[in-house]
Symmetry: C2
Subunit: 420 residues, 2 copies
């Protein structure tokens, strides 16, 4: 019998206990050994929980218990779980975590501390989709050319509703909060930070690159409005919050931001709360992984898969999937140098000469226009909605600054990158 | 250094050699050891091949070489590779195969022979997509409720072209042969046998069920014509060759046949030569896996992933993913008892009373009609294209026999199951 201690018995922790009981037949057959949750640690002991494990409010009741083989960390946060996981690994206990923030900051230290002790984290990225498994094991023969992930269900639900049903941002945020898809403070999700944490984990497996959330471009979906949605529909794009890792010679771009994606691409079809991750390997080409990115049972499914894997193999694959340094010489790209196509929404005065001035400012920065739509807006202003040919991020940034001080635009221009 | 012997150095075998060389940096980092192909076995030594391994035409040059750690079996066929793989495993060599026919017939014997020796086969199902990995490891906490796979690129390419471009079956088969997507004798692909082999492998991992191709329903795409395509388009369906495993109480249905799928479903969007597999687990819900199902590099990517996995972990997960018998008491379903919706194409005389007779025959078998379209066809006949409400397979079969002897239909009725 393999004994499991669960630190943090909330939605996911309760699901882990329940599934280990519900599916004991198949789990025992697959693991070759009975897996039993024996202890749980919670902050608030007085809260009633429907689990059969012995509860305590002291992590040492698990960490100091030599009969416990595997510690499941579901606390949330960064520094406190780091101390807990460190101690568990130092005591030789296998660890399974669903904590993406912990890994976004401490994955390399933890890989070093773990050494030959199993440390698994499938549930930390895209919930029930076994994307860590796929990237680390299934695609290991490949140099990974790109990863493009829809990895935040809250944002994807909101954007899908905006584009399918014409709901405005504020209304759909309120609805998402009522449905429990968005937190009372939604900024971690809608600001792109949650997706960024997941991206950093995948980028470590693909590239062995070390970066923290502060090092990469993170933009959220807060500024998207119905004009952007209308433009996307008119030119047959989907609008998604994508987390992107992409190599370019000896650099890797890491960025999270809204993008317009042509509707033919497979990842454009990932709608609602679902997650999807497209990975392009230099040998295999494109593969895509689709499924539920959140929810108690889906996340617990990934946690238990890790436990079974540990039970089955005694020890597991090295945490990030490489035994020696990847030594690829890759460095983090300077985001100003990236090149792509852009969409701009400009609120301008509706009078002659304005369009010429906009075109001149863009032209001076080597930015050429591919499509343009002009629509009347309030106060006798007009909205210019345009897409550019491929140009440099820095040139777009400078052009936007230039437009702002020129007096031509009446409010902050909006920019969305186009991913083709 | 880990030494690999390759038996069968054709397209995939050559790709394995090439990728091990091209991506040596990242493969060594991930495996923790250098992986080197040292010997290859081929049928015809006089054929020129662009590989750096020593070639021989005798399998024992690999099997009897104690310095070779891993045997990659890429011979094709069933009984000859079985003897080769058996001998390799008995000698304690790890084996990696891409041979689905071998596994469709001998997977359980081979799992017994392998014991603790690694025996891997990711490339045997859906080429470059790590679906074996996902099902065996990533979803191991779940009872698998269903697997629905588009796992034959030839059929999917042909059906996609028929539906998108209105090409007729014979013309697209010829084109596929010219493009190299279909064999000179296409029956293994278009007849559904290739997909059936893959389905049997996945069903073993999911259910531990033993069945051979002869035990299950296998229908191909040979009878699909432009009327079926028109009906699919009119009612917003895609037309796919699906391999389906589905549990129903203590039975599991295993079947391969063309299906109409509502266009909203994710798997309906898998077009062209691509493969896609949707898996529903009782806890995780639906996940889907998409990518290239064939091709030298994509298949070799999966072969090498297995080799890296073996190098990394010393030994691997039990071949089919369970250590004890799954003991689920599941038995293979009698296909006559399955229930679904059906599409029928009936070539009838265009005169009064015919429709009443068809309706009566269907009604007598408890089959009710949901949608119907009547179109004129050649020789003053008419085509009745109809879909039914859910009914029993046996009733549809009997109704079709009844229609044939009634004199109402002028040629063999066509039937396609609807998967919703």
């Amino acid at each position: 019998m393999l004994k499991v201690g669960i630190i943090g018995v909330g939605t996911v922790g309760s699901s882990v206990c329940q599934i280990l009981e519900d599916n004991k037949d198949i789990i025992t057959a697959r693991a070759g050994v009975e897996i039993t949750p024996v202890k749980g640690v919670v902050n608030n002991l007085s809260k009633k929980r429907d689990v059969s494990v012995t509860l305590s409010d002291n992590v040492d009741d698990i960490l100091d218990d030599d009969s416990i083989d595997i510690v499941v960390e579901l606390m949330g946060g960064v520094e406190r779980p780091y101390a807990v996981v460190k101690k568990a690994l130092e005591k030789g206990k296998a660890v399974v975590t669903a904590n993406k923030a912990l890994l976004a900051y401490h994955r390399y230290e933890l890989q070093d501390i773990a050494g030959d002790t199993a440390f698994e984290f499938e549930a930390a990225v895209a919930g029930g989709i076994p994307i860590v498994n796929a990237l680390r094991d299934g695609l290991s023969a490949n140099h990974i050319l790109s990863i493009k992930g829809i990895m935040n269900g809250t944002c994807n639900y909101m954007l899908t509703r905006m584009i399918n049903d014409g709901v405005e941002y504020d209304a759909i945020l309120k609805e998402s909060q009522e449905l429990g898809y968005a937190e009372a403070d939604p900024s971690f999700d809608v600001g792109g930070f949650d997706a960024a944490h997941k991206l950093l984990i995948l980028a470590s497996i693909a590239y062995g690159i070390d970066a923290k959330p502060e090092d990469i471009l993170i933009e959220g979906i807060q500024n998207i409005n119905s004009d952007d949605i209308a433009f996307a529909k008119e030119f047959d794009y989907s609008l998604k919050l994508l987390a992107i890792a992409k190599t370019n010679e000896d650099e890797v771009e890491l960025r999270v931001h809204p993008v317009l994606i042509p509707n033919g691409e497979m990842i454009s079809k990932v709608d609602g709360v679902m997650n999807g991750v497209s990975v392009i390997g230099d040998k295999v080409g494109e593969t895509m992984y689709y499924g539920p990115g959140a929810g108690g049972d889906a996340t617990a499914s990934a946690v238990i898969a890790n436990i079974i894997d540990i039970a089955r193999s005694g020890k597991s694959t090295p945490m990030l999937g490489f035994k020696q340094s990847l030594e690829s010489g890759l460095k983090l790209a300077n985001i100003d140098e990236m090149q792509t196509r852009y969409y701009l929404r400009l609120d301008v005065e509706d009078k002659s000469g304005v369009l010429a001035k906009v075109a001149t400012i863009l032209g001076d920065k080597n930015i050429s226009i591919k499509t343009m739509v002009q629509k009347p807006s309030k106060n006798n202003n007009a909205n210019l909605l345009l897409s550019t040919h491929t140009c440099k991020e820095l040139d777009i940034k400078n052009a936007i600054e230039e437009l702002k001080i020129s007096g031509v635009v009446k409010s902050q221009p909006a920019m969305i990158r186009i991913e083709e």
